[in-house]
């Protein structure tokens, strides 16, 4: 079944650790996105990719980095996590630029 997956769903780590949030989709979509969402707040785009080896920063400045080596895989990395990175991170993909985006279940990150 075509879907979009994120792992882990929940992550609690200490300050200074390096982490990678995984996002994979089996829908064959070229365009993928990472959003950051604080509790009770709107989503802010932090990264997007229009295809393999294409990555760009979004509207909200983020210390995270992303890579797109394979079409289906769009991981997000934090080299040194801090409490200010505590948030929910949502991954999405779409087939068409102006069409609806399909979202993964999210990763809730807590940095102590």
């Amino acid at each position: 079944e075509a879907d979009i997956y994120q792992t882990p769903r929940y992550l609690v780590i200490g300050t200074g650790k390096k982490i990678t949030l995984e996002c994979s989709q089996t829908m064959g979509h070229d365009k993928m996105y990472w959003y950051q969402q604080d509790p009770g707040m709107e989503l802010h785009l932090i990264h997007y990719s229009y295809g393999v080896n294409s990555t760009e920063k979004g509207d909200l400045s983020s210390e995270s980095t992303v890579s797109r080596i394979r079409t289906e895989h769009f991981p997000l990395t934090l080299e040194s996590a801090r409490p200010s990175h505590t948030s929910q991170y949502l991954c999405a993909s779409t087939e068409r630029q102006a069409g609806e985006q399909f979202f993964g279940p999210g990763t809730r990150l807590t940095v102590l």
Binding site: Q6, R9, Y33, G40, M41, E42, L43, L45, Y48, Y50, E56, G58, D59, L90, A92, Q97, A98, G99, E100, Q101, F102, F103, G104, P105, G106, R108
Partner: protein
């Protein structure tokens, strides 16, 4: 710049009552509009969308929204809500800005359905 305003941050309502969640957008060009629903600890699910054609769009679970170009609105309605409709609802507009297409989201409306 395009923006989305959801006029109510929280909407409490009793079960089986009607509800309207309001959404206004600002845009000088043709837009695509979406409503997403987010249940606790989950990602966003598309509820309905307006791309073109009929201004009234409907979802499979009884929600509907009407695109009103003159009022730049895309309000979400349901004639009779259920407890299971309790969730966060996000209105979004597709926009082209900074060289790429993106979705701009409103701040969300928390719908709380009480028995």
């Amino acid at each position: 710049a395009q923006s989305v305003t959801q006029l109510d941050s929280q909407v409490p309502v009793f079960e089986e009552a009607p509800v309207e969640l309001r959404c206004n957008y600002s845009s000088s060009v043709s837009v695509y509009l979406f409503w997403y629903v987010q249940y606790p600890n989950q990602g966003l699910q598309l509820l309905l969308k307006y791309l073109s054609g009929s201004t009234l769009v409907k979802s499979i679970n009884g929600f509907e929204a009407e695109f009103n170009k003159s009022q730049t609105s895309f309000h979400l309605r349901k004639p009779s809500v259920h407890i299971s409709d309790t969730a966060e609802y996000f209105c979004a507009v597709s926009a082209f800005s900074g060289g790429y297409n993106k979705l701009i989201f409103g701040a969300g409306t928390r719908l709380a359905v009480h028995p």
